[in-house]
């Protein structure tokens, strides 16, 4: 099944044309072997939206994020980034993969991603990590990239560590490095997978500010987080994922204020 077939049946199709849609996902399924992790997840984020993805451990949040930039090939479903449909072809054994590698690469180079386990490149110093993508993918001049990179490292408080290899950094320092690396490409869309898990409360506040600033600039943010306070304060939209489906979603006030689903009620009760 190519995308065009699927699009015909997509109810969100019509409205999306009018507004600048940054991410549009419809009916996403993903299975690993016999384990179905995502069972039909849909979402739409417009420019400047901050969508927070919350949910239990193992509920498929990371998988969802990874599907959006095709680190995992979704088993089925539609994904549209910046209004651009991504065509998929079937692999003949029940899965599918992107038809056009170039397209994926182009889209990815404008998507920033902060991984749950950071994934800094071990053979590069922190600064090299940060300037790698600007210089080698986006074609920014080296000097400029370094200038921007140093500024970013300054912003996350890592100037002193610019020439240190990731293996010699503390957990929080690695995470901040990963954030700087993602910011360096000035992405229109940012995917954050628990970007503050290793940070102390002070830094959490800092990162929160950075994200709010970015949203103001009109960038779109998709954010997996376990910090409900964080979700409540920055998000424009919250999705609660449970067992591979979106159990409930809406503006944070509604979701945290008057949850409808039993499961979510229970989830929120433990927090407060």
């Amino acid at each position: 099944m190519t995308v065009s077939d699927a699009v015909l049946t997509d109810p969100l199709q019509q409205q999306s044309a009018e507004q600048a849609e940054a991410i549009h996902v419809w009916n996403l399924h993903k299975r690993f072997g016999s384990l179905e992790v995502l069972k039909g997840v849909s979402m739409t984020a417009r420019d400047g939206d901050v969508v927070a993805l919350i949910g239990g451990s193992g509920s498929g949040k990371s998988t969802f994020l990874r599907c959006i930039n095709f680190l995992e090939n979704p088993t089925s479903g539609v994904i549209r980034i910046n209004g651009e449909d991504i065509e998929m072809v079937s692999d003949g054994v029940g899965g599918q993969y992107p038809a056009n590698r170039r397209q994926i690469e182009r889209i990815r180079s404008r998507l920033g991603m902060v991984f749950q386990n950071f994934n800094l490149w071990q053979h590069m110093t922190l600064l090299q990590n940060v300037i790698e993508v600007p210089v080698h993918v986006l074609g920014v001049k080296r000097d400029e990239a370094i200038a921007v990179g140093e500024q970013l490292l300054e912003r996350v408080g890592l100037s002193a560590k610019r020439d240190v290899y990731p293996a010699y950094l503390s957990g929080g320092q690695q995470q901040r490095g990963a954030i700087a690396r993602a910011l360096a490409i000035q992405p229109r869309v940012m995917l954050f997978d628990e970007p503050t898990s290793a940070l102390d409360p002070e830094l959490v506040g800092e990162v929160l500010k950075v994200i709010a600033d970015l949203a103001k600039e009109g960038r779109t943010m998709l954010l997996v987080t376990h910090e409900m306070k964080f979700a409540r304060e920055v998000a424009s939209h919250v999705m609660y994922l449970h067992n591979g489906i979106v159990e409930e979603e809406g503006p944070p006030e509604d979701l945290f204020g008057s949850p409808k689903s039993e499961r979510l009620k229970q989830f929120i009760r433990t927090v407060s």
């Binding site: 990815r108 071990q122 590069m124 790698e132 993508v133 993918v137």
Partner: protein, 250 residues
Amino acid sequence: MADVSIIPETLSQMLTLLSPSPPGWGGNLLRGLMHSLQIALGAFGMGLIIGTLGAYGKLYGSPLVRDLAGIYTTIVRAVPELVLILLLYYAGTDLINRILEMAGYQRIDISGLVAGIVVLGFVQGAYATEVLRGAIKAIPYGEIEAARAYGMSPILMMRRITLPSMLPYALPGLANLWLIATKDTALLAVVGFSELTLETRQAAGTTKAYFLFFMAAGVLYLLTTLFSNLIVGRIEKWARRGMPSVGEAG
């Protein structure tokens, strides 16, 4: 000593045999070494390229590519080089020439040197494929995913991330392959190219000073190895930057 027959009686006799210009054989050995190194360099380089392609094919290729790569690595490693060179250089050129003659063209002559390097490179490629496959598998998968997530094209990713990160894992195996390449050039003797092994055999067979010349060749190889070690050590040190050593803390 019982095996005096293979050791010339006096030191001066040994020195004459080893002197760099005829009637000494030293020059021949050195020339043989240079030839061996040239061949090895060519074959090893070709092996690296084939190996990289092969490893990628085996890891990321379609089922057909994977099977073809598997057949390549199994057969080319299994079949003795002698068989490959005989098939390519003699049977292969013969076949081409017969076809050419039938079509009314001139016979052509494939250079033995080129054929030899191609065969050795092909064989090296099969071993290198496996070494590199193992090394790529050893890279923490997150680092490659990160590269992919930032939109690197496969070539760029290979150049900037995969190859540098896998280097520490691949180097010992590749160093072994390089040393084997320098010694495997004996194959070229079959196509009439005089490299170190053949020169040694000729010197030893002619003068009957087997022991002397084999030791001399051994020393030349050892020097080559020490020099290679130096370079590989440098590269490895550089490749391991950023990797804490595993040594015991307490």
